[in-house]
């Protein structure tokens, strides 16, 4: 059967009418905050208590937007005849968000969990130099870091919990065995 002439025109009208009855996709952003997906990359937060000034983040950063200054402090020896210990103290930690490309490599590479993604994104500035966030500002972002999303129910157990469980199971088995032994002697 040949297609009815004007069928395409009617289809076009149907499409626009159907779109009109559906919900619009417009986000009324300044009035209504967007619903961001988990793990959104808004800004990088620093938990400076965890930072050891290992400089890995600064060296891995592809566009060199992390500035770290530190100095060494000498701690008195704990035991007699021992060598005095030295320790790095963080003086400056800054991220220039006008250079940052939000790749997240610094966060991936940090061995001590000192850097985190925060979903906050409203930190536009009128002066580009104000986009360099110093350590106090980076520390403040820490309060906006959400708890990590729960694991998938079918996911593998996290390594820490698996190791702890293994140790606990071993201890439990040992305790049981210790309880069994005296009974055998009696019999």
């Amino acid at each position: 059967m040949a297609p009815i002439p004007g069928r395409g025109l009617a289809k076009g009208l149907a499409v626009t009418l159907r779109t009109m009855t559906r919900k619009t996709v417009t986000a009324q952003y300044p009035d209504v905050q967007p619903e961001l997906p988990p793990r959104s990359r808004g800004v990088i937060a620093l938990l400076e208590e965890n930072c050891t000034v290992c400089m890995l983040c600064a060296r891995e950063c592809p566009d060199w937007c992390i500035y770290i200054d530190s100095h060494k402090e000498t701690l008195p020896a704990v035991e007699p005849n021992a060598r005095a210990r030295t320790r790095n103290v963080l003086d400056r930690f800054a991220i220039d968000f006008s250079l940052c490309m939000y790749c997240g490599i610094c966060i991936e590479v940090c061995p001590f969990d000192a850097l985190f993604w925060s979903p906050e994104f409203e930190y536009a500035e009128e002066d580009i130099q104000d986009l360099t966030h110093e350590r106090d500002r980076l520390r403040e972002w820490m309060w906006t870091v959400p708890a990590p999303p729960a694991l998938d129910p079918a996911a593998e157990e996290p390594k820490e919990i698996a190791a702890a469980r293994k140790a606990a199971d071993k201890a439990h088995a040992a305790a049981l065995a210790a309880a069994e032994e005296p009974k055998e002697e009696e019999a």
């Binding site: 499409v15 626009t16 779109t19 619009t24 996709v25 417009t26």
Partner: protein, 320 residues
């Protein structure tokens, strides 16, 4: 004295309708078009869903400088927006809103008057195109002229078919003679009339004369400020007039259940349904090319309107 007062009240009422309804249609277009494209449209002006957007636009236009190009024909250039807008006001005078004398002025040659006056409206675009001293304006003006030539004929033929069926060219007379079975009888004519009306208003998909991707804004390219706003307003007034006229001629105007008391409501409902259709068509279809536009008029609309005229004549002879 009472006749003077009566005339004054009627004039003011027509003026009010002319000032309010096109804005309502314009706002509807903003919102309907937005929602058909999955958007929200204006949301801020006036507080509630941007109802005052067109008022804000008007204020903005009024604040702008009124520029006349140095090479332009000053008088003609400045007169053109009025020539484009006023005919629709005049046309509105003769269109009946309800039964009895619920209209501006009952004219014996109402249909003739309305169509003649609407033809004048297009002169505004021609004047603007010619006087602007701009080649894009001139091209737009010439395209307007070509489109007017092509689409005026089927429009008149379709209107003539209704006049023939009613045996009168008075709009109240046509409505007085209306029966429900006129709708299927004249449906082809109605289609031709409505589509030609769209083309005459240069509404998409017949907006070749103002095709912004090719000739900027056609005849209105050089206009700014209030005069530009008047051209825009004339487009929406034109939608109102064409929708109202189609409703009167082909959909029975105020005819409907409880027409004696609610006639005006039926007329408004039909007019707004047609205005919605105008907006809907605008959102849905892309612009026709100039040659497609001409071919559509001469090879589809004119034969259809002639066929409708013949059908009307045959039925008229058979039933009389």
């Amino acid at each position: 004295m009472t006749t003077t007062l009566d005339a004054l009240v009627r004039c003011i009422a027509v003026l009010l309708v002319f000032l309010v309804l096109p804005l309502v249609i314009g706002q509807t277009e903003h919102k309907v078009m937005a929602h058909m494209q999955g958007r929200l449209g204006p949301m801020y002006a006036g507080g509630f869903h941007g109802w005052a957007q067109l008022v804000a636009d008007g204020v903005k236009f009024a604040q702008k400088e009124d520029v006349v190009p140095s090479g332009a024909d000053r008088k003609i250039f400045q007169l053109a927006p009025a020539v484009a807008l006023l005919p629709y006001l005049l046309a509105l005078v003769a269109i009946p809103l309800g039964p009895g004398d619920l209209l501006g002025q009952d004219l014996d040659a109402g249909l003739f008057f309305v169509l003649a006056v609407m033809g004048v409206g297009v002169l505004g675009s021609l004047m603007a195109g010619w006087a602007s001293a701009n080649k894009f304006s001139l091209l737009g003006g010439i395209r307007t002229a070509a489109q007017l030539m092509a689409y005026e004929l089927p429009m008149l033929l379709a209107a003539a078919s209704v006049a023939m069926a009613a045996g009168t060219v008075s709009l109240t007379g046509i409505l007085g003679a209306f029966h429900w079975w006129w709708v299927p009888w004249q449906i082809v004519g109605g289609f031709v009339f409505f589509v030609s009306g769209l083309a005459e208003l240069q509404r998409p998909p017949f907006d070749m004369p103002v095709a912004d991707s090719e000739i900027i804004f056609g005849a209105y390219t050089e206009y700014t400020g209030l005069r530009f706003a008047l051209f825009l307003l004339s487009e929406y007034a034109g939608i109102l007039v064409v929708s109202a006229l189609t409703a009167v001629l082909f959909l029975g105007g105020w005819h409907g259940p409880m027409a004696d008391s609610l006639g005006w409501l039926w007329m408004l409902l039909k007019t707004f349904a047609l205005a919605f259709l105008v907006i809907w068509i605008r959102v849905t279809y892309p612009r026709l090319r100039e040659d497609q536009l001409m071919r559509f008029a001469w090879t589809v609309l004119i034969p259809l309107s002639l066929a409708q005229l013949a059908l009307t004549g045959i039925v008229k002879v058979v039933i009389s």
